[in-house]
């Protein structure tokens, strides 16, 4: 297994290079847009030239590409056109809120998803199963921004139970740490719920079919023949092997921690990576968009690596296989 991990890690480097190259190619291929943002109508010709030189836009393309690669290696992702601060600093600030939101959403997603799947698999074709299937199908089809708007309307505007946006109330820093935490949690509920619910529908569906498949397996029949209770069979003998696909799903969802919340962050003004991306898109702040996109891709690559490793750890068969 060590060999497997080592190989995958080594493979990561050329993949990151490829991803960075693709990012650059896409941006370079766009019609003059990079330069557009830098341009301002009020600039004189000299000022325009100076700005271009500063961003290296007067260099031939291959030079820009090499500069781009070089700066990535040193961790410099460029400077924002709008705020003039390093993209890395912007990301460092935006990442924790996104991770927080993503983790909360994933937790909700899996807990809810597992509960529903178990409940449905307990009595297949029973009323709970049918209802949850239909509801899950509909929820999975609803656009997340629509769900968010509805939840804001009901829970924030009409009922006033939760705040409608942002991560903190004003002056939250002055509060006692516990109260500040409570304030944060209150702000977290709605966005995490929006993300988590839609995810839970998909997770529940996937898990349910996995559970049902396992139930039909021979060893389950054997357990039943031995006289074990349904409950015991479900929780111990069915759920455990089902955890394997759960782990896979979890691994696949890891990159989602970073990228899944773009829309939700936008609607809730949650100060994370997604919101930064949207704001950068509207301001045509290309370096920020490039930096975030690159970071997202790298996160996915690392995430799938972790998922594979996790899978190998959990599933003895995969270990022996060595693939």
């Amino acid at each position: 297994m060590r060999g497997l991990i080592a190989r995958r890690v080594l493979l990561l480097i050329p993949m990151i290079w490829l991803v960075a190259t693709l990012t650059f190619v896409v941006v370079a291929a766009a019609p003059g847009s990079y330069a557009d943002t830098v341009d301002h109508p009020g600039l004189t010709v000299e000022q325009r030239e100076a700005l271009r030189a500063r961003y290296g836009l007067d260099q031939p393309v291959y030079r820009q590409y090499l500069t781009w690669l070089g700066s990535i290696v040193t961790g410099d992702l460029g400077t924002s056109f709008v705020t003039r601060e390093p993209v890395g600093r912007l990301l460092a600030r935006a990442l924790p809120p996104t991770l927080l939101l993503g983790t909360a959403a994933l937790l909700l997603d899996f807990v809810l998803g597992i509960l529903i799947a178990v409940g449905a698999a307990h009595r297949p074709r029973g009323w709970f199963d049918r209802v949850s299937t239909v509801v899950g199908l509909v929820i999975a089809g609803l656009p997340s921004f629509w769900v968010a708007g509805l939840m804001i309307l009901i829970f924030a505007l009409l009922l006033g139970w939760f705040p409608a946006s942002h991560m903190h109330s004003v002056g939250a820093d002055d509060l006692h740490p516990l109260a500040s935490l409570g304030d944060l949690l209150r702000h977290l509920v709605l966005p995490a719920a929006c993300l988590g619910l839609v995810g839970a529908a998909g997770t529940a569906r996937y898990l349910r079919s996995t559970l049902l498949d396992i139930r039909g397996e021979r060893y389950i029949l054997a357990a039943r023949a031995r006289g074990l209770s349904e409950r015991r069979i479900l929780w111990i003998h069915t759920l455990r092997p089902a955890l394997l696909p759960v782990v896979t799903l979890l691994g696949l969802s890891l990159p989602f921690l970073v990228s899944g919340s773009v829309v939700i962050e936008s609607v809730f003004s949650w100060p994370g990576v997604g919101l930064a991306l949207i704001q950068a898109a509207h301001a045509r702040d290309i370096p920020v968009i490039m930096g975030i996109t690159l970071m997202g891709a790298v996160a996915v690559l690392i995430g799938s690596l972790l998922a594979d490793v996790l899978y190998a750890v959990v599933d003895p068969r995969a270990r022996e296989d060595g693939t």
């Binding site: 993949m15 656009p143 921004f145 629509w146 309307l153 505007l157 898109a281 996109t293 996915v300």
Partner: protein, 315 residues
């Protein structure tokens, strides 16, 4: 829901949506005219009277009073009084799904938006199908080096979170319907390429193909009789699901303001605009959301149904 029912329900829903959107303007009655001063934000089902005047204006309102020689058209803030002699036409009609802030019929807008959303998603899916199939085939039949290079490329492209890539592309390339179709198509062909490659590789090793080859069947013949039918199933399932993803992707981009310019808003843009008047006009954001969900769910059901058929066919 029984498995076989899924396909039926899905196909029915899909056909219904497509037919209504595409043929709606032809088969349904003409919607009320646009009169923002008097018929804005009317709830679904409101009956209105439409009065056309000789200077070309159309007045529409739920409250139109005929008083002798004059006609009074009431609006929320002011009323218009006109002379009977100015009237060229009068009609009683209804805003079946309500009106928006500018007095436009929501049903008509949903249909127009649906035409655009469906067309964009369909065209993008077509592009994805073409590119994905080509790349997948090339990888499967082009030798190990070609396969390795192409698959690494696919892996790298798939590493980008889709929405990030879409936003990057939508920002760089000026949004227009054609560009949007290209952008959506070029970000969704990768999964298909993997699928095709996998299928072709598997099929190549299958006994019946080897047998056919041994029997002297030409490559094209092998293709047509053995590969394509086997590909058709998984491809159509994938396409159905992909269409759903594309519809959601387009709706999300429109919602974020990065889609096509909103002179005819797509469903996503309608939700975004509807958000602004959530309390006064809940139907403006809710109905397009339902429409999107209906389309995506129908497509998902179709995809599920096809998968079910495939599984049954296998065993």
């Amino acid at each position: 829901m029984s498995r076989s029912r899924r396909l039926q329900v899905g196909v029915t829903g899909l056909c219904l949506l497509v037919v209504v959107c595409m043929l709606g303007p032809v088969i349904l009655p003409v919607p009320p005219g646009i009169d923002p001063a008097h018929s804005a934000l009317l709830p679904p089902g409101t009956a209105v009277t439409e009065v056309v005047i000789d200077d070309g204006r159309t007045l529409v309102s739920p409250s139109v009073r005929f008083e002798g020689d004059t006609v009074v058209v009431d609006g929320p803030r002011r009323s218009a009084t006109i002379n009977r002699s100015q009237i060229t036409a009068v009609r009683d009609t209804r805003f079946w799904l309500g009106s928006d802030r500018f007095g436009r019929d929501v049903l008509a807008q949903l249909m127009a938006g649906g035409r655009i959303s469906i067309s964009i998603a369909a065209l993008a899916a077509l592009i994805a199908l073409l590119v994905g199939t080509t790349v997948g085939l090339t990888a499967a039949t082009g030798g190990r080096l070609v396969d390795a290079v192409l698959m690494r490329l696919v892996d790298a492209l798939m590493a980008f979170p889709v929405l990030f890539l879409l936003i990057l592309l939508a920002t760089l390339f000026r949004p227009g319907p054609l560009i949007l179709v290209l952008v959506l198509g070029m970000t969704s062909w990768m999964g298909l390429a993997r699928l095709v490659r996998g299928q072709v590789l598997t099929l190549r090793g299958r006994t019946f193909v080897l047998a056919a080859r041994a029997a002297g069947s030409t490559p094209t013949r092998t293709w047509r009789t053995h590969f394509l039918p086997n590909l058709a199933g998984p491809l159509s399932q994938d396409t159905a699901l992909r269409l759903g993803d594309l519809v959601l992707a387009e709706a999300t981009l429109s919602f974020l303001g990065l889609g096509i310019p909103p002179s005819i808003p797509t469903w996503g843009a309608m939700v975004a605009q509807g958000h602004r008047v959530m309390i006064d006009g809940w139907w403006l954001a809710t109905l397009p959301g339902f429409a999107i969900a209906a389309l995506v769910v129908s497509l998902a059901l179709v995809g599920d149904g096809i998968q079910e058929r495939l599984l049954r066919g296998r065993s």
